[in-house]
Subunit: 278 residues, 2 copies
Amino acid sequence: MEIITDIASLRTRLKRESSIALVPTMGNLHQGHLSLVQLAQQHAGCTVVSIFVNRLQFAPHEDFDRYPRTQTTDCHLLEQLGVEIVFLPDEKELYPVPQEFQLLLPAVADTLEGQFRPGFFRGVAIIVLKLFNIVQPHIAIFGKKDYQQLHLMQKMGQQLNLPIEIMAGETVRAEDGLALSSRNSYLSESQRQQASHLFRTLFHVKQKIEQGDHNLRLLEERAKCELAKQGWKVDYIALQQRKTLLPANTSDTDLVILGAGWLGQTRLIDNLEIALTL
Amino acid sequence: MEIITDIASLRTRLKRESSIALVPTMGNLHQGHLSLVQLAQQHAGCTVVSIFVNRLQFAPHEDFDRYPRTQTTDCHLLEQLGVEIVFLPDEKELYPVPQEFQLLLPAVADTLEGQFRPGFFRGVAIIVLKLFNIVQPHIAIFGKKDYQQLHLMQKMGQQLNLPIEIMAGETVRAEDGLALSSRNSYLSESQRQQASHLFRTLFHVKQKIEQGDHNLRLLEERAKCELAKQGWKVDYIALQQRKTLLPANTSDTDLVILGAGWLGQTRLIDNLEIALTL
């Protein structure tokens, strides 16, 4: 496995590859990331995993400084999987000057995560576009765990005519249902117990809908109350159309329920796809 | 020469090319465009000329509807030059849905042309980015005639890490100095006589500076008065640093003087590079 830190060397190295998959990450890799890497390996001859904690997608009060950085372990894990290339640039390599060119995003980027993390998707979009232009992959993999991010990256691909297939990887969960996330490491032991209630609550709504309860707004409200009872400070619980991420109604069949909330100082998100049978 | 109107066919056709140059145009080709095409042909095995009148770079009150469309003649001229491919998409092909992903540009995009044509560079940037992603050229050619556009496209290339060399082509002029432009066709016979005063005025400033007159702001003001006397409604005359397009001062050596103004309903622009000897 090659660890490459500069853009010029990466471009030279990639010239001889005819089929490249990119898995963009912020490192601190867990089984969720590794499953995305394995998906990439099934679809390309050369898999590039980028590791870069992107300051532009963190608000000033967010956890940029304490975000876990575990590059040695990360590289070890990727080598064991047989990854060809890790791209590990520093900030000067990707942002040698202030990033004045940015992306204006569709209105859906101001909802859900975007409402509670202003600027987050703008930061994600610009780093992903830069990485796409640097790596020029044929396929890029994003996890369904960050469902709205995946949605926006697919839309970006279409609207900017990117010659890249955006592929979705399934969420990997702990035994109790908690979606794997680097931020889970912030949780105390008791918070870790509470944490699975996000998944359980979303799953309960999914079951209700699939059993024929179509009072979507009421189901959202009850889920919020349920989570609050379990000690969560809820940002949102929202039943949306899978295709647009706009609020769903009972004439829609392909839904997704998305949730976000806080346990102490730690913010977690999760989602589940739901088939609404009319 | 192949005339291709859809993205999928163009991508398939270009797969077999190892060196591609793109010349993006709005058609109504004149010798200025053709010199850019010839520059492209010197640097790539396959030259793609795109012709697309991009509604997004016209303000509602501007000349989108009356912009000259001469595709048959254009294609004939390009065929005579030995161009390999003309990309001639319609609006539905490039904007099948409203363009929600747009670019946020550096502050310099709000000056000069950007001050008098709000939204112009945003429209240019998004169509160029889309064309880049569709054609995936190794080189793209922009004329110095649109100096600020060239500047922004070079900056976009750097800041988005585009794998594309942005190359500049010289302005082509009529015998009396008027820069060739599709909009020259709007001019009446008497306006055509007045039109060369833009070049003459800029050239006069260039001479003054090269002869040692370094009162840059005063030179700008006098040039504006001179043009107004010749029947022009002046938008701006500005002596800028070539590298940043910010206002120049006498400690700068690489300058450019840019001018824009109206003859009746027709808006023309021009510029000249100037070496200031300290």
